[in-house]
């Protein structure tokens, strides 16, 4: 699969009567990491939500394997993993229950695999503690455990390094690189100075214009 998974043509997005970006075109190829850069308010999160299919207030074309995405929404959703700023972790549930709930509609996995994934993000021993008793970084790691078991070819990760300690950050960097080597595509927005070999960059303007 060397054709682009996702192709954006002349994207334009307006928010609160302000143009965030216009004439934005790029391709997401298999086996690449793409970093969306720009100052606060330049539309990084908005762009990622557009790519994920959450935000519909934009114009332009988005192609999924060369076909209009809107016509292949179900296939697109099945093959895309989106981790938002709000990661979908329920404070009242335990990490294990959260992970069960988040994977149930996509690819249900047996509990030992989920526990192993939680252990892989440094949450061993916390699997059955309600998430509200965990720190912000630990809650974030519950969401990141999904990356260890996700098989979607396209990952859209918003502010994935937030609240993660230095060891975790380099672990995620390795994970992204490994994912790209496997042939998966990753799009990240981050203020963290992420530098990976062969990384594509999308630079958004200053929010004015």
């Amino acid at each position: 699969m060397s054709e682009p998974l996702l192709q954006a043509i002349d994207l334009q997005c307006e928010r609160d009567e302000r143009i965030l970006f216009r004439d934005l075109s790029f391709s997401i190829l298999p086996g690449t990491v793409t970093r969306v850069e720009g100052p606060n308010g330049s539309g990084k999160t908005t762009l990622l939500r557009m790519l994920a299919g959450l935000n519909d207030a934009w114009s332009g074309d988005l192609l999924w394997f060369g076909k209009p995405r809107s016509a292949h929404r179900e296939e697109f959703l099945r093959n895309t993993l989106y981790l938002g700023h709000r990661a979908g972790i329920k404070p009242l549930l335990t990490p294990l229950e959260n992970l069960q709930a988040l994977t149930a509609g996509r690819r249900p996995l047996p509990d030992p695999v989920l526990r192993q994934a939680l252990g892989g993000t440094g949450l061993a021993g916390f699997e059955d503690v309600p998430c509200r008793n965990l720190s912000a970084g630990q809650q974030r790691r519950v969401a990141l455990a999904r990356l260890l078991i996700a098989d979607e070819p396209l990952w859209l990760l918003d502010e994935v390094f937030t609240a993660i300690d230095a060891g975790g950050v380099s672990a995620i960097e390795n994970l992204l690189q490994q994912r790209a080597a496997e042939g998966g595509s990753v799009v990240v927005t981050t203020h963290h100075d992420l530098r990976l070999p062969g990384m594509q960059r999308i630079i958004l303007g200053g929010g004015s214009d």
């Binding site: 207030a57 099945r78 990661a87 249900p108 260890l148």
Partner: protein
């Protein structure tokens, strides 16, 4: 972090079945609710309080209560469902669960239906179960209580389903309470009229089959249309979020 247990990279064409995805949504909502029992008790407590305050505030006369009882119970049930509606999507919206729900490959309206069913099991169904006790308290006779329970059993899911549209539409607003009530109350009125009408007709000894059939029609209509409207409203609310 290592990922030795991840399968090779392939494009997936099969999805988890709709039913098991719905079951997952339903089970999670119940589980979260039972971790927070106070929230679960609120609508029930409200229901009981309103019904007990009426004899104290208006009149404890048996004749009055027998006449107004069904109406009081129906209005109290309606208001307590209305009170609980804001929670239907709000927490999920705040913690990002809703985004993940919208991005699941299954049709959104069915997942929303599962959520609404969980809402009914947690709010409407307990009201129905409590109704016989409160019915005795307001001196309704056995036949009327039976019919009242039946109308609430058919009517409260309609309240949850219609309410889910309003809850989804007002999700993006910070103080949605008043607007939600204004949007939803007019749609609740027919259900209320037919619900109390059925019981009044039963009290007079008239047949109630036609009334119940009409309420059943309301339920079928709400079941088939409301999830579509809620799903569309959720997409709009999230798109602005």
């Amino acid at each position: 972090m290592n990922a030795d247990f991840r399968p090779a990279l392939v494009l997936r064409h099969d999805a988890v079945g709709v039913l098991s995805a719905m079951r997952g949504v339903f089970a999670r909502d119940l589980r979260v609710a039972f971790r927070q029992r106070q929230d679960l008790l609120n609508p029930l407590l409200f229901f009981v309080m309103v019904v007990t305050l009426f004899p104290l505030g208006v009149s404890p006369e048996v004749s009055f209560l027998r006449e107004a009882g069904a109406g009081i119970l129906w209005v109290a049930a309606l208001l307590s469902v209305l009170l609980s509606l804001d929670h239907l999507f709000r927490h999920d919206f705040d913690d990002g669960t809703l985004e993940q729900l919208v991005l699941q490959p299954q049709p959104l309206f069915l997942l929303v239906l599962a959520k609404t069913m969980a809402h009914w099991v947690l709010t409407g169904l307990p009201l129905v179960i409590l109704t016989p006790v409160l019915g005795v308290m307001v001196h309704l006779d056995g036949n009327s209580i039976g019919v009242l329970c039946l109308t609430l059993l058919i009517g409260t899911p309609v309240l949850s389903l219609i309410g889910s549209i309003g809850a989804a539409l007002t999700l993006g607003l910070r103080s949605a309470g008043v607007l939600l009530s204004l949007l939803i109350i007019p749609l609740y009125i027919p259900v209320l009229i037919f619900g109390t009408g059925t019981v009044a007709s039963a009290a007079e000894g008239a047949p109630v089959g036609a009334y119940l059939a009409l309420m059943g029609a309301f339920l079928v209509l709400a079941l088939t249309l409301a999830p579509f409207a809620s799903a569309a409203a959720l997409r709009i609310s999230l798109s602005n979020g």
